[in-house]
Symmetry: C3
Subunit: 427 residues, 3 copies
């Protein structure tokens, strides 16, 4: 089984669970993630806890929910798809006319066969989502409505996995875990982040990597509130979301716009040969909104494939297991690994023979018959690293200026270091 197939399998396993920003579906999801990567630290934050400008809401759980017609037949059924129930619907048991019922029904007029995804976290109400076609077919008459949910004091749950590195400087990788049966907008990020964590944990990277599996908005706000004193250790960060669909990549820059993470991802994408676009920060989207709020201004960007809300399946029942695919998930994982490689390898060096070129030939580092019309890329890489290693430029600077691949520059930097021509700059 390829890595992509394994990622897809994980997505498929998590797909049926009814997640929301709190509740048991979220807990079950974290259990699966812990099984995958091990060492997941799960936090339970009580309802009512003040977190920044917000308050941890009551916990929501649902046992069952349906709309039945006069004959008692369930015409809309939570058991068929958890998308049918507006997330955070309050409990209700009532008999309504069709007209009264319709005030609680949400459809997609433009996509008559799809069920929309709707939430009402902070306003107490109940509602159902269904296809337009179904709603249009409902005959007049009375309907029985049941939302067998609880909205009660409890906890907000989130998980984090720290892969300890050689330093306490951290790379933050964050994905949301609060969407129910939506495959791309939730599960793809979970799958790729989990696998990245597992791969990093196999070694001992330079940075420590902190993976957050959190409910959107309130989760990142809660984590930020509880870790406010430790944010100084976050050197780079990436929100992963919507990385399973077949579209090209979208990287959204951090609020800073030219943070190292921005330049690293841009470089990797530019050399990837894959269709992609890099867009400026805007204060709308996923949890980068919170990490990049002005009081924190963390260097956190977001990696997605097709930008959210720009593909028709977004926040509908069509964001299902057909939308995501093993190949896309694997490609996203690979891109993530390449970004990690750049972050890990991006150092500043000092040329220890900075006056004139060092004689590479006598060190066996140069072709020995001169006069050839073209220099090999590897030798160009050496010359670039030597020329730019004045303590001011990182390897990523050199990659950007030279147009050479980062990995090659990192490799020749190691060679030059061994040859005593280069040393890492310490300040």
């Amino acid at each position: 089984m390829t890595a992509g197939e394994e990622l897809y399998k994980l997505v498929a396993e998590l797909y049926p669970i009814c997640r929301s920003i709190t509740g048991d579906g979220l807990r079950r999801t974290l259990e699966v993630i812990d099984r995958e990567i091990g060492g997941l630290e799960v936090s339970e934050v009580p309802t009512g806890t003040q977190v920044l400008d917000w308050t941890v809401p009551r916990e929501w759980n649902v046992r069952d929910a349906w709309v039945a017609d006069a004959a008692g037949r369930r015409v809309i059924d939570f058991q068929v798809s958890n998308l049918h129930l507006v997330s955070y619907s309050t409990p209700v048991r009532a008999r309504l006319s069709l007209a009264e019922l319709k005030e609680h029904l949400f459809t997609l007029p433009d996509q008559p066969d799809w069920v929309p995804y709707r939430t009402s976290y902070y306003a107490e109400r109940w509602g159902f989502c269904a296809s337009r076609r179904l709603v249009d077919s409902l005959p007049d008459g009375d309907y029985e409505v049941c939302v067998d949910s609880t909205l009660a004091d409890g906890h907000l749950t989130y998980g984090e996995r720290l892969v300890e590195g050689q330093t306490s400087e951290e790379v933050l990788v964050s994905c949301h875990v609060c969407h129910p049966s939506l495959a791309n907008d939730n599960l793809s990020g979970i799958a790729v982040a989990s696998r990245l964590a597992r791969l990093l944990a196999e070694g001992r990277p330079r940075y420590s990597y902190r993976f957050l599996f959190i409910p959107g908005t309130i989760g990142s706000i809660t984590w930020l509130a509880r870790n406010e004193d430790h944010l100084g250790r976050v050197r780079h960060g990436l929100v992963l979301s919507g990385v399973g669909d077949p579209g090209g990549f979208t990287y959204k820059r951090s609020r800073r716009g030219d943070a190292e993470i921005d330049r690293a991802v841009t470089h990797v994408l530019a050399r990837s040969g894959r269709p992609h676009r890099v867009v400026d920060f805007s204060p709308y989207g996923y949890d980068e909104r919170q990490y990049c709020s002005p009081g924190f201004d963390l260097p956190v960007g977001r990696l997605s494939r097709t930008e959210f809300a720009t593909y028709p399946e977004y926040h509908t029942s069509a964001d299902n297991l057909d939308l995501v695919g093993p190949a896309q998930l694997q490609e996203s994982l690979e891109l993530g690994r390449e970004v990690v490689q750049v972050l890990e390898g991006n150092r500043r060096y000092l040329n220890l023979r900075p006056k004139g070129e060092p004689q590479l030939g006598k060190r066996g580092l140069y072709g020995q018959i001169g006069g050839r019309s073209d220099a090999e890329e590897r030798q160009m890489a050496m010359l670039w690293v030597l020329n730019q290693s004045d303590g001011e430029h990182t390897l990523l600077d050199v990659a950007e200026r030279s147009g050479l691949p980062f990995a090659l520059l990192a490799e020749v930097a190691a060679t030059l270091e061994e040859a005593g021509l280069l040393a890492e700059a310490t300040s």
Copy 2:
């Protein structure tokens, strides 16, 4: 009557007056302006006064001027159009042959029916301007020439109107008032500036606005010389000239190139949907030359429609009441008002809940059913203002970065301020 029609009416009233850089025509013009806006402070600066590197010239007035043929028939007549006389022509009464006369005649070879506009402020001479067709038709013979003018010690006259605002920081609006019967190149700026002054005087703006109605070059130099100690209060400035023709707008940046006025006008034009271009500063043009001289370097740009000297009617008798129109004048006035709105509203704010997003929902500032595919522009505007309000960015910065209209950002900033989420940055 629309505002545009009123502006046009003022242009038409001022059109026949023989203005120059000094003299009674200029005084009559300022009287009309004062009637329009009230509170015009008129200065009279004596001939010979040293102003910076210049000297206030003698005052020029003309009672009559003509060229008559052997039969005594006036073939060129100042009474028909004041453009026929070279401005600042010295008095003369003589009989000349056609050949001698022609050395004093100016025509436009490429526009045989138009009369050029010519001046000779600083070299004592006399001359007449006429259409090429007329001059070509003059038969040989003697001609009687009369310039019944006075060039004598007197005064240079200019007017200024201060609209006092809440602060003593000033916006300078300058237009020249020294051209005779030229409609676009003179009167359009006077009309728009006058109306802008009247509109501002109806309220109490944040800035004080100083409107200068001055003869070109020598007038701004005189004003600068006499106000050298107070120039520090000039925060923004705009020269208005040539704002009545049907062409697209031209904004010429200040010498600084990125002054707030430059960015404000650029933003307004970019969002106006009107054809326009923004050009870099150059040391040629109208009085921005003086305000932007290196010893002052004031943040003063220039707003015109078609750039001067690039339309055929420029400095000819064809720059008449047919060239300018009510609609164009009104559009220019509106643009000026929009620029004023940006300057007035352009503040730096501090997000008072800068860590994470403040919870807009609990303050009634956010839609309550989540999961919708698109955010409304107004909510985006709030998020942008909150995100960028770190005390570093002005609303214009936010407008430029977000691509949202300035007015919307200013409106939501006020809403957020009321909600206690935002405060104006004081330093």
Copy 3:
């Protein structure tokens, strides 16, 4: 004879000499250069001298070299073309089979009629270069090989010519003199640099100009090692190489990227109307590699016509007297002179009447009939120089901002200085 024809004649005279990075061919070349420009100071640096990270190699001289067939007929002959012998070939006298011989033969598979240029300075070996066609035609059998060369302790030779200027600040002009019978890649630069030196020596320029005629790489490294303490006086520098071919100009920026020399050459090229391109620095090429190593980082760019290694004749026998031409050489010389003019004339000035425009008319510097539709370029130049002369901007800054030709700006600056309106900024 035009200057171009004289340059071509010099190229033709130097063409047959067998140059390398050391040896008598190099000495003979410097003698010819000294005859052309006078005052050439020739340095002889002993073999084994440590120069930066390098060691001065043994001196190489060759009396004869050939490959003869079984019949004793020379099938490859150094006397016919010095390109036939790999430069720095060690002495050998041997009888070899064709297969053994071929291990020492270099050809150009893609250009079967051309002889490649090959060197082996730092690895002891011998070899011959020949056309592919010839090598393919060699019958099986034994061949007699003779390389009658010496590789022995001696000296590395280079020449420098200092044209003393009014200050000790220097402009470095460097060209390599180590290639044998290659016309464009060697001799064109020598010819243009020599003539530039002669022309500059006719006057007393503002800067001192130091012309280096040096073997590539080891020569510039040697010169840098011996002059390390004096490099602070180098204000600008230019490597001249490959300036005789018919292609457009290529300017390669210094490592700094925006040094005055970079801007000067870019400005001259942009206004030249000649096809050209300006490319970023890279650490590969000619001796700019050494001057721009991070320990020196001198402001040295390179001027070429077609970029080396991008034309088929590069480093082959086809880089001969047919590739270069008098017109191209002359054009390159002219461009060099224009660059010198910019460097010489590029000063910062102070407007002594910085408040408002000075009254040019009373100083006879302005046309006296106003109101004309266009200003003349010369008056625009005056206004630009006055407006920008705040002590911050050089004339090159003014040229770039205004789009006016540098020479015109320098001319009006002198006029304004005479008129007492401008003074050179001293700090």
